[in-house]
Structures are given as structure tokens and as C-alpha cells.
């Protein structure tokens, strides 16, 4: 699932899978950060 086997018995993890996994956790985090910074800005905006 996560990697491609090579003839030598070693493995290669597809870059696409790593990018997808990081995006899956990163995008919600960016959404949360954006929303929180928006709320926090009211502290300085008066």
C-alpha cells in the first residue's frame, strides 16, 4: 500500500504518497491556524 517493492527486497516510498499524507494532515491544520489567527487578530484590532 505504502511502498513499491524492488527486486532486491528493499522498498521505495512513493513521493506522491508522502505528499498526500502530509496534505491530509496539513490542510486541516492550515484551516485551523487561519481561523485561530482570524480570532486572535481581534485582540489587536480592538
Amino acid at each position: 500500500m505504502s511502498s513499491t517493492n524492488t527486486p532486491q527486497g528493499s522498498t521505495h516510498t512513493p513521493t506522491g504518497l508522502i505528499a498526500f499524507a502530509w496534505a491530509l494532515v496539513g490542510l486541516p491544520l492550515v484551516y485551523g491556524l487561519y481561523q485561530t489567527i482570524k480570532t486572535a487578530s481581534s485582540l489587536f484590532g480592538g
Binding site: 500500500m1 505504502s2 511502498s3 517493492n5 524492488t6 527486497g9 528493499s10 522498498t11 521505495h12 516510498t13 504518497l17 508522502i18 499524507a21 502530509w22 491530509l24 494532515v25 496539513g26 486541516p28 491544520l29 484551516y31 485551523g32 491556524l33 481561523q35 485561530t36 489567527i37 480570532t39 486572535a40 487578530s41 481581534s42 485582540l43 489587536f44 480592538g46
Partner: protein, 469 residues
């Protein structure tokens, strides 16, 4: 307790060439979900109204969950280490999701006890197992940067609340259009029930994804260019191993328990009171110069520093060492608390900066502790030892708010308090940090009599590398 073969540790041993940067998102997939536990205030008022209950009765849901987190992490820590991260993440996903689904049923059928049982007890077990599930795996994948690795995962726990708070408001607005998320509007119980159902299913999918991409390194695996002999150069970093059973017999374990307890208790004191505290510090007569919306912004800012501190300070500990970084958390923390108590009310910006740095130390304390344990006790059962140490968090979760609320009760009525009323509580926190500081100073390398004999298998299983991975 045996686990199905597809969850077994020996099935997920990575082959040579596996990219370890797939492991942090696996850990984050779990921690971002269980971090929702810090976002319960979003629907607290709705549950009070729905059950026609008190804030205390609803607050117990969160308290049960945190106590169960500590207990389950302590009880299941060895099981997690033995069976590996996939079994642990899978189990955590089932418990955490089931907690939401049972909680949803409890709200829909007006039975508060079901919410206690669901979110509190069953969800709390998911919290505990989920919290420790990726920690020892990350430490093994990143022996060169354990602080960075655990900081990344435990940052996710802080980040989970940042996601869950606005997401919950948005979902409740969809389920109850009369609720718009502003002060004064409260979502219906039906909306909260549907929110629980949605979160339960979304979290199940996310955590399962994490459990199926996670891998453990082979026993002989090392990162390219990593030389373990350099690690030994630091006085407190061992290459020996101590079992969880023996670790709790050492003074080092209990000194770190005190360190974590003191650091968390002090931080929770501010986190718990953040919104009213900033308004009280800048009260002029009946009104505060800090508006309710600005106070909410302050809470958001603290969340950011709580999350950022986990990553930044824990990563820094890889360079300056675990003991020195805790001297900073606790020693500088003491100075900051004294400044907060004495001159914190002189300017809003000063109050905000002091509180933000204090909270970053609070987060840093959580994230650095697994690496500190690994330095002292080795990697053998570091997950189980971490689990046992988290009982300090459960105790601090009770003690922190209790200290602050008791002190404030003796000082006046909520809504009429001023900065001076917080001083006794803040100075108690200074005293607690001083106790933690001394405990940290007393930490020395673990005596060799507690080390596992050389040559014995300190790996939970003797894994054969997965044919599929």
C-alpha cells in the same frame, strides 16, 4: 492479549529504503483527532441548556476523559509497546470514535450518563491509547532528532483543538441555522448530537488512515549518517534499556512525574481562566477595557503558542539537552509568573506576551517529556513509561483548576475581580514551578542495576520484515 494478524507489529516492519517522513503524518492523523478534547468549550453551553444541567455537571465529561486518558495510558502502555503502533492507533480510533457515537446517542435520547460513559470513559480510553501510540515509534524512527519527532506529534494534540473549534461551530451552524456562533446564541442539543456523530465518523476515517500507513523500523535500521556513539556523549543519554516495571522504581521517574505535574498545573491555571483573566486584569470599575471578542482572541493566541511551543521547544531540546530545556521552562517560567503577578496589569501587550510565553513552555513541557524519558530509560519500553508518567497530567488536570478556582473564590465574585485578586494563585504557581525546578535539577543518570541485561532481546517481538512493505 493477542491482536489480529493485520495489526501485528511484525507485519509493519519497514523494508530498507522506506521513507521515515511518512511516519509524522501518521502520528499527526491520530493526534490532530484526539486533540479535539481541548475544544469541548464550544458546545458546553449547549449541553448545559439541553440537559437543563449545571456547568459543573457538564464539565465532568471533560474531567472523566482526562482522568481516563491518564489511567489508560498507564494501564495500556506496555500493551502498546508490545503490539506496536498500528494495533494501538486502530484501537484508539475505535474507542475515540465509539465515544463520540455513544455520546451522540446520549444527547439525542437525553441521557447524560451515556455522554459520561461514551465521551468520558470510552473516548477517554481512546485518548490515552492514541496519545502514546505513535511516541515510541517516532523516537525509534528519529533517533537523531527525538525531540523534533515527538514535538511534531504532540504539536498535533494542540493543533487538534484549533481545527475542532471552528469546525464544530461551522457544523453546528449547518445543523441548527439559528446558531451563528456569536455570543448569546446557543446551538440546539440536536445539533450537538449530529456534531458528535459527524466528528465520530470523520475521526474514525482519519485515525484509520494513520494506523494503516504507520511502520516500525527494523532492529538494525539507522538513519543515514547517524552515529549512535555521538548520542552517548551527553551525560544523561543512555544506550541501555530500562523496563517500564523497573522505571517506576527509580527516583528519576518520580522526579520527572513531579516536573510534569508542576509544569502542567501551572500552565492549566492560566489556560483555564484565560478569557476572564485578561478582562479582570484590565478592569476599570464595572467594565473591562478588554472586550469579550478580544478576550476570545487572547484564548486563540494562547492556543497558537501552546501548539507552537510543543514543536519549537521540543526541537530545541535536541540541541541544548532535555535537562537544560526544563530549567528554562520552569526557571524562566517562574520569573514570567512573578512579572505577570506584579507588572502584568500595566499594559495589555505585556500581559499577552508574558502569558503567551508561559503557555509555550506548558506545551513544550508536554512535548519534550518523551524524549527525556528516552534519554534516561532507553527506547525499550519508552511508550509504556510515558503512559505511566501521564498520570501526572491527569492529577494536574484536577489540581490546576482547583487551585485557581479556590483562590479566586476567596478573593471575590466573578465579574468583579481585578489583577490583585489573581496574585495569590499566581504566586502558588511560582512555588509549584520552583518545586519542579528542584526536581529537574536532581535528575541524574539511572543506576545500572535497573538496566536490562546486555544481549537480551529488548524488542517487543522478533519481527520478520513485512513481505508486503
Amino acid at each position: 492479549m493477542a491482536v489480529p494478524s493485520f495489526l501485528a507489529r511484525e507485519r509493519i516492519v519497514a523494508r530498507p529504503g522506506f521513507n521515515r517522513w511518512l511516519i509524522p503524518p501518521a502520528a499527526l492523523a491520530v493526534h490532530l483527532c484526539i486533540g479535539q478534547a481541548y475544544a469541548t468549550s464550544v458546545y458546553k453551553a449547549a449541553l448545559v441548556a439541553h440537559f437543563e444541567s449545571s456547568l459543573t455537571a457538564i464539565g465532568i465529561i471533560f474531567s472523566i476523559a482526562i482522568v481516563m486518558l491518564g489511567l489508560s495510558a498507564a494501564v495500556f502502555g506496555t500493551w502498546v509497546d508490545r503490539n506496536g503502533p498500528r494495533a494501538a492507533m486502530f484501537t484508539a480510533a475505535c474507542f475515540w470514535s465509539a465515544g463520540f457515537l455513544i455520546g451522540s446517542l446520549g444527547i439525542a435520547t437525553d441521557q447524560l450518563w451515556l455522554v459520561y460513559l461514551g465521551y468520558g470513559v470510552i473516548g477517554g480510553i481512546g485518548l490515552g491509547i492514541g496519545y502514546i501510540s505513535p511516541v515510541s515509534t517516532l523516537i525509534k524512527w528519529f533517533p537523531d532528532r527525538p525531540g523534533l519527532a515527538t514535538g511534531m506529534a504532540i504539536m498535533g494534540f494542540g493543533g487538534g483543538a484549533l481545527i475542532a473549534s471552528p469546525l464544530s461551530r461551522q457544523l453546528m451552524n449547518w445543523y441548527d441555522p439559528a446558531y451563528d456562533g456569536t455570543a448569546g446564541t446557543v446551538p440546539s442539543g440536536h445539533a450537538v448530537s449530529l456534531l458528535f456523530l459527524t466528528l465520530g465518523l470523520v475521526y474514525l476515517a482519519f485515525m484509520m488512515f494513520g494506523s494503516f500507513i504507520v511502520r516500525v523500523p527494523a532492529d538494525d535500521w539507522r538513519p543515514e549518517g547517524f552515529d549512535p556513539s555521538k548520542v552517548k556523549a551527553r551525560a544523561l543519554v543512555t544506550t541501555d534499556h530500562v523496563s517500564a516495571g523497573n522505571a517506576i522504581k527509580t527516583p528519576q521517574f518520580w522526579l520527572l512525574w513531579i516536573v510534569l505535574f508542576c509544569n502542567v498545573t501551572a500552565g492549566i491555571g492560566i489556560l483555564e481562566q484565560a478569557s476572564p483573566m485578561i478582562q479582570d486584569f484590565f478592569r476599570d470599575g464595572d467594565a473591562s477595557t478588554v472586550a469579550v471578542t478580544a478576550a476570545a482572541g487572547f484564548v486563540g493566541l494562547l492556543s497558537l503558542f501552546n501548539m507552537g511551543g510543543r514543536f519549537v521547544w521540543s526541537s530545541t531540546s535536541d540541541f541544548i539537552g532535555r535537562k537544560p530545556i526544563y530549567m528554562v521552562y520552569l526557571g524562566v517560567g517562574m520569573v514570567l509568573y512573578v512579572l505577570l503577578a506584579t507588572i502584568g496589569s500595566s499594559a495589555t501587550w505585556l500581559f499577552v506576551i508574558l502569558a503567551a510565553i508561559i503557555i509555550s513552555f506548558y506545551g513544550g513541557g508536554f512535548a519534550t517529556i518523551p524524549a527525556y524519558l528516552r534519554d534516561l530509560f532507553g527506547t525499550y519500553q519508552v511508550g509504556a513509561i510515558h503512559g505511566r508518567l501521564l498520570t501526572a497530567w491527569a492529577a494536574a488536570g484536577v489540581a490546576g483548576p482547583l487551585i485557581v478556582n479556590r483562590v479566586l473564590d476567596t478573593q471575590g465574585t466573578p465579574g468583579e475581580l481585578v489583577a490583585g485578586n489573581y496574585r495569590p494563585a499566581l504566586f502558588i504557581m511560582v512555588g509549584l514551578l520552583a518545586v519542579g525546578f528542584v526536581a529537574n535539577l536532581l535528575v541524574k543518570p539511572v543506576a545500572s542495576k535497573w538496566h536490562e541485561p546486555k544481549g537480551i532481546d529488548t524488542h517487543p517481538t522478533s519481527p520478520e520484515r513485512s513481505a508486503a512493505r
